[in-house]
Symmetry: C2
Subunit: 727 residues, 2 copies
């Protein structure tokens, strides 16, 4: 209700577009401040020199603005992409040096676009539902609008009225008309594309004093506030800043959010855009950074390329801006130092100054255990990042019980991934795409993304009857979300999150509780109680996708040495080679693998009979697009089986000294003492001691007293080690 | 002749074993020098503190000397290994601190061994032809003798005569007797095991004043100089220092060479052991270092584990010793700094001082193009390391035309490997072994080493009729070696090496010339002219084992998407999955792959018809021991086909900026203009320019003038680019 009131207040605000330029990337005052400090701080100086030496190579040259032809990675694509960065940078240099040659470069390029753009039809390589004109997809055209819009604003003062008219009507209007009219539905979408589209149109609007553009950008083409930038700020983030498409796309969307907000902050300060929704843009940045690995790579939830990290340009922009707007933050400084460059704005000046005077910057971002809700109202499930360990020894468990995550979402309800010591241990495939490589389908998403990477079997969660969650239908998946049952994350000895998913399969309820436990002697265990409740018998597959060298397994398997076949024929199964399989009965299935210098053992209880598969991705890959990654999959056929599993982090391997310590698992046995509607109680033998985990399944009241399996405790769970309560 | 005379001179030298102790690791004077400097240089201080804090944890404790039971990686193995390092370090500390507790620790442990060793029979896990007693193999017992011998010497002065007798007769004599009598043949072998065995017996001999031991160590059990340490120095190194088993074993053998030499230098200075064979031990160290990658990892020729680098303890010892003996060397300083620790001897003091006073140490070892001969006389083929590029941009081609390399040799005549920018690009599998991991067959070599890694098909060289060179028989392979025909390595624009192999297959002669070419614009090409001469038709397979993501290929192939089979059934072929195959006719077969941020394209000419296979290792691997690595294999069935191939290093991929540059190969066509008994002439179209390579096949006189294919040149080859001579 408050939000609605606020939005209406926005709509009623008088739209006063200031006539002063520049007004998008920075203002005249800010430019002067940057100029004053250019040679005071090494990082600022270097960033300035880098831009200047790059732009200077083009001064006096005829810059090609080719007729669009190639997909991503091809010449015309890369050239147009290069051009918009070039004119943006040249525009900045014009303001910092006053040298007209930089303004002239921008003008000449924009005039070429003014001649080109009116002639364009849909790009010949357009394959998506949102075709571009300069580029193969409209998203890239929106990127172009953002940067070309800022470039135009940056040299606005140097242009004649006629030149302005030519550029505004030739370069910008056809593009703005195209994406707001031809692609109206797309423009109004609540999705990262929409953020870019609104930012592009809005920045061009501010740069050219076009109120219509700015209004459409803020409130959607219908100007009803149901779409547009404000609606995107409401709809794409949860109240605590989780971006609904996941961390990889946080990175991508945060740039237009911050750039357009900056322009709005200058042009329409009364909007107080950076304060909107209790500083939602600050929360978005921090939540994005919390969702990175020690090396800065974004966690690979949903469609994600693993090489992307927080040194990307998008994060440079966001961090430099946030620093200026929200104030200094030692966490941001860690990232800024690794980025090794700053924007030439006031945030950049301040960060460069802070780094110059900092004695030491700590080596890692200040990661901590965090739990995010999902959805505009925060009521669409969530994601918990359980963390434990200092600096390089950080362990992170990412437990995902979110809503689907729009078109880049995966069918991975209740899945988790494990990172340890900066390495991905239990993995999420991410996406199948070679961005920026023309030979690989123009850098687009490859069919194996939807075919394999998005399917449930590609994740560490339950697959029932070899079908993906929601049968892999986005339209259905978008209607539901998992639900957190309880969590307790304040005691480093035991962090626990429980969630359930009741809609992924008809007739099967899934419930999973994960415990990150540190034993008194320091050993870390991840305990996983995954229960199913069904009305009929089904086939349940629980994969453990692991990253490492198989060292040993307790399973007597039949290896396929001379011939390989796929594990299945659809829903992602056709992408897995079956390297070995086994029958296990009433036993502990154990798999020990080595990653870098640490051993990991997955131990999982099998009551009755189960099949165990050792698989590797890479089948059905005619274009050699997939990585070849191993998994162990435990298959149970029964009514409502439980999967009680423990992943243990243990030991050390020193290849130089040729020594191993603690290379064997300490978990020797798992017993399921009780499992009924009310309680699940598991007992683990850890060497010669007992670890007992008892939890309630339905009544999560913190104060309620429970008795089960001879134990008595208060609240939703208890963890006992050697007879002593750990939590 | 000179060598023989020298050896006889050695034999005639009066054997004067000095009675002063310590005399092995360092002398009393040297110990005093170390003590004086202990707290002057940070690296020395730290190294001292590390050792002291490690040893101090054991002072006053009862140290277990268990009855031998486990293989490598198991408790008793690791404990005995730990013990010998511990007593060695404790002995050093006794000399540096004078604190008797350190001597007492050594004494107590050695007395336990004096009780244990006489009771030992062959180790229960012994599987090799040289079983051990304390360990599963005699090699490890020799390691024990080296360190225990030094430890004994270091505390000799603190022991009573009775204690000395107990230790010498109980701890050492059974071991020395065992390896010099029971394992006499093994002890006398010219092999890295022999180096350790001689060093062990020799050091014990020096430590205990036992001339018999020292003589056996120096001249073999028969004391005829045909085996023993001097014979090993003669036989295992070529005159320029190449160690016959390859760089991985250089690392391993260099330690006992340097340790025993140090002890001899103290005990028998008249031997001038460090000067022997024109300072062969210095040459050995330098050649070992030249055979490392930018990251310090030893090139994976023959049996080799890729994780081994020059920071290993063996190299710390060698470098610290060489520094003291042969003088300061800025190259060694680079390595010493990366090692991050020094020995507590005079070399360690001096290196720590040099590092403390050095302003900057260059980031990489001073790699250069080098060519090594192989064999004691340097007449058993060789290996050329062609290098090009500065610092991080270093490219290294390793072309191997050696003799077999003893029991760890591979069947890989005329094979090459390519490293670029610190990454392995065209690869050698190395060996299949998980050293220090008990679960993997006690850390021993795994059957896949001989089954796959040693076979010809696992290397980038020609396989005829699916049989390995010399039919994979070591006894046959040991009789032959390849032969260098000519080389020219002084012009960085064109470096070339030609070699031939006429014994690997009956009736087939192999000849391969490799060119590392830098075009005027900077592009690097590796051209490879591999010709065969046979009397009958054969099947010829030329593999390119590559490390990277397949980006594209010119070949229209049939992929095996739902079922995989192996490429063959024996000689290593059974370990390769056939992922795709193709028929190529009169065309250029091209494969572009991406490694890290650089593109690489292999282009190979097919005249007539060929088959092309895309394979991956990992078949027939029931224990999950193999890595899954891709290869492209070109198969020609004809009388005497030529394989003209070019590997091009090109372009750049920036995953953060999502840009690729030069991602397409510039080689568009290859023509074989001439190939006859006298000449081979190839013409490559590099974009719109011609690169012509003309070479003679038989008469390699540097001054001879040749005319072929309309070209005229002097010497064994000419390379022309765009009409201009490059070489």
């Amino acid at each position: 209700m408050m939000r609605l009131l606020k939005m209406i207040a926005f709509l009623l605000l008088p739209v006063l577009l200031t006539a002063q330029h520049p007004v998008t990337f920075f203002t005249k005052t800010e430019a002067a401040e940057v100029k004053r400090n250019l040679f005071r701080y090494p990082l600022l100086t270097q960033s300035y020199k880098d831009i200047r030496s790059e732009v200077d190579t083009w001064i006096g040259k005829d810059i090609d603005v080719p007729f669009p032809k190639d997909p991503a990675g091809g010449y015309t694509h890369d050239k147009h992409k290069y051009n918009y960065t070039l004119i943006f940078n040249s525009g900045i240099l014009y303001n910092l040096t006053g040298d007209i040659k930089y303004a002239r470069l921008v003008k000449e390029v924009l005039l070429k676009y003014a001649a080109l753009n009116p002639t364009l039809k849909n790009h010949p390589q357009a394959t998506s539902s949102s075709p571009g004109r300069i580029f193969w997809q409209a998203l890239n055209d929106a990127n172009w609008l953002v940067y070309a819009g800022m470039a135009y604003d940056l040299v606005y003062n140097s242009l004649s009225t006629a030149e302005r008219k030519t550029i505004e009507e030739g370069a910008f209007k056809p593009e703005v008309d195209f994406i707001t009219k031809d692609l109206q539905t797309w423009f109004d979408l609540i999705h990262n594309h929409g953020v870019w589209a609104c930012a592009g149109v809005g920045i061009v609007g501010i740069a050219s004093g076009n109120q219509e553009y700015v209004d459409m950008a803020l409130y959607g083409t219908k100007k009803d506030g149901k779409s547009g930038f404000i609606a995107l700020m409401d709809g794409l983030f949860s109240p605590d800043g989780y971006y609904t498409e996941g961390p990889y796309y946080t990175r991508y969307a945060i740039l237009p959010f911050y750039l357009f907000a900056t322009a709005l902050d200058h042009a329409r300060p009364s909007l107080k855009i950076f304060e909107y929704r209790n500083r939602i843009l600050q929360k978005a940045l921090v939540s994005g950074l919390q969702q990175t690995n020690l090396d800065g790579a974004f966690f690979a939830l949903n469609d994600a390329l693993k090489e992307k990290d927080y040194t990307s340009n998008e994060l440079v922009t966001a961090i430099n801006t946030a620093w200026a707007i929200y104030g200094k933050d030692s966490g941001l400084l860690v990232v800024a130092e690794k980025q090794g460059r700053v924007l030439l704005n006031k945030g950049g000046v301040s960060i460069a100054a802070a780094i110059a005077s900092a004695k030491t910057v700590t080596p890692f971002y200040p990661y901590r255990t965090v739990e995010y809700t999902v959805g505009g109202k925060g009521d669409e499930g969530g994601v918990s990042l359980l963390r434990n360990g200092k600096e390089k020894n950080l362990t992170t468990l990412i437990y995902k019980y979110t809503s689907h995550g729009l078109s880049h979402g995966h069918y991975d309800k209740l899945s988790y991934n494990l990172y340890d010591k900066g390495n991905e241990i239990l993995t999420d495939y991410g996406a199948v795409r070679f961005i920026g490589i023309e030979q690989k389908y123009g850098g687009r998403y490859l069919p194996e993304t939807k075919g394999y990477a998005a399917q449930t079997i590609a994740h560490n969660t339950m697959v029932v009857d070899e079908r993906s969650h929601f049968d892999g239908k986005e339209s259905v998946a978008e209607k539901f979300h998992s639900e957190k049952l309880f969590s307790s994350v304040n005691n480093p000895a035991v962090q626990v999150v429980a969630a359930k998913e009741e809609n992924a399969y008809k007739g099967v309820k899934l419930q999973r509780t994960v415990y990150m436990i540190t034993l008194p002697e320091g050993r870390k265990l991840l305990a996983d109680i995954f229960t199913t409740t069904a009305t009929e018998e089904h086939q349940y597959d629980l994969p453990f996708h692991y990253n490492g060298q198989l060292i040993s397994t307790s399973v007597k398997y039949n290896p396929y040495t001379m011939k390989l076949e796929t594990l299945g024929s659809k829903n992602g199964y056709q992408f897995l080679w079956k390297e070995a399989e086994a029958i296990a009965a009433d036993t502990l299935v154990q798999l020990t693998f080595l990653n870098d210098r640490t051993y990991y053992t997955v131990s999982s209880l099998v009551q009755g009979q189960a099949q165990v598969f050792f698989t590797r991705s890479g089948a059905n890959d005619p274009d050699f697009n997939l990585r070849h990654e191993p998994a162990m999959i435990i298959r149970k056929k029964s009514l409502s089986p439980s999967f009680i599993s423990v992943t243990e982090i243990h030991g050390n391997f020193d290849p130089i000294l040729e020594f191993s310590t603690n290379s064997y698992a300490s978990v020797k046995e798992i017993k399921l003492l009780q499992r009924d509607e009310q309680y699940t109680v598991a007992e683990l033998s850890v060497n010669d001691k007992k670890l007992i985990i008892a939890q309630v399944n339905k009544d999560f009241d913190d104060t309620k007293v429970h008795t089960a399996s001879g134990l008595s405790w208060t609240g939703p769970f208890v963890v006992l080690f050697d007879g002593k309560k750990l939590n």
